[in-house]
């Protein structure tokens, strides 16, 4: 069956049914965010010799998301002859 398989083991044809199998209840979504957070935290921050990379990747993602958010205003400031 397509359910209960990890994403990389799902065949392309089974992908829509796999996505629909996921738990979209509020507690399911909260669980997904929690798992994602701890996956990142335990890999990059909660280690014996953590470096600045753990924090700076988060800040870089924050900058990138803010750039995407304000792209609509920023595109008027490009160096073009016609905007």
């Amino acid at each position: 069956a397509a359910s209960e398989k990890k994403l990389l083991e799902v065949k392309l044809g089974e992908l829509p049914s796999w996505i629909l199998m996921r738990d979209f209840t509020p507690s399911g979504i909260a669980g997904a965010f929690q798992r994602g957070y701890y996956r990142y935290y335990n890999k990059y921050v909660n280690v014996k010799k953590g470096s600045i990379a753990g924090l700076s990747m988060v800040l870089a993602a924050y900058v990138f998301l803010n750039y995407c958010r304000s792209y609509k205003e920023l595109k008027h400031e490009r160096l073009r002859k016609y905007h």
């Binding site: 909660n46 280690v47 953590g50 753990g54 924090l55 924050y62 900058v63 750039y67 958010r69």
Partner: protein
């Protein structure tokens, strides 16, 4: 140019949904909690810094005032981290909004003053008249002290807003000037760029200092009233 300068201060709304809530909550992600005795470097650094700040700031209070430690420490962490995150490119700083700073200043100031009135009524009323004033001056001085008391929360909020907003505006303006000058005269652009570097260093300092000042003043108002 006119519209561009202030667009970075508009509260972010995406498809009508308040994105600003997520942005206000984001700094909490950067302060992980841990119940262990020996933690990873990140958490250890934060705990060390927090201990340093709390010792320095709460040592002047008596035991009643020290119940406010959690409030004041989370306040300084929030304002400091929000201001510092606002220095990243394209980011939105919630503390530039007067509404938010008023929402922080008024309850904290009111809490300190009302605690003083409830627990030490005579002493807090006595604050309205400094010692040794000549008798004819008393009515005027009471009025002046009342005004200065009620202006405290306004000053707290406006000070923070104005400092952070002014800093961001200056960075925008000087950055734009550097960019425009590059095609005209490279030397002037280099001078302007140096100014920009110095300004950014100043803004880092201002970000942290403003957090400190806000918290210190609230703690002072508390000290007067406990």
């Amino acid at each position: 140019m006119n519209e561009n300068l202030f667009t970075s201060f508009i509260t972010p709304v995406i498809l009508g949904l308040p994105l600003v809530t997520l942005i206000v909550l984001f700094p909490s992600l950067l302060f992980p909690t841990s119940n262990r005795l020996v933690n990873n470097r990140f958490v250890t650094l934060q705990q060390w810094m927090l201990q340093l700040v709390s010792k320095q700031m709460m040592s002047i209070h008596n035991s009643k005032g020290q119940t406010w430690t959690l409030m004041l420490m989370s306040l300084i962490l929030f304002i400091g981290s929000t201001n510092l995150l606002g220095l990243l490119p394209h980011s939105f700083t919630p503390t530039t909004q007067l509404s938010m700073n008023l929402g922080m200043a008024i309850p904290l100031w009111a809490g300190a003053v009302i605690t003083g009135f409830r627990n030490k009524t005579k002493a807090s009323l006595a604050h309205f008249l400094p010692q040794g004033t000549p008798t004819p001056l008393i009515p005027m001085l009471v009025i002046i002290e009342t005004i200065s008391l009620f202006i405290q929360p306004m000053a707290l909020a406006v000070r923070l807003t104005a400092n952070i907003t002014a800093g961001h505006l200056l960075i925008h303006l000087i950055g734009g000037a550097t960019l425009a000058l590059m095609s005209i005269s490279t030397t002037t652009a280099l001078i302007t760029f140096t100014i920009l570097i110095l300004l950014t260093i100043l803004e880092f300092a201002v970000a942290m200092i403003q957090a400190y000042v806000f918290t210190l003043l609230v703690s002072l108002y508390l000290h007067d009233n406990t």
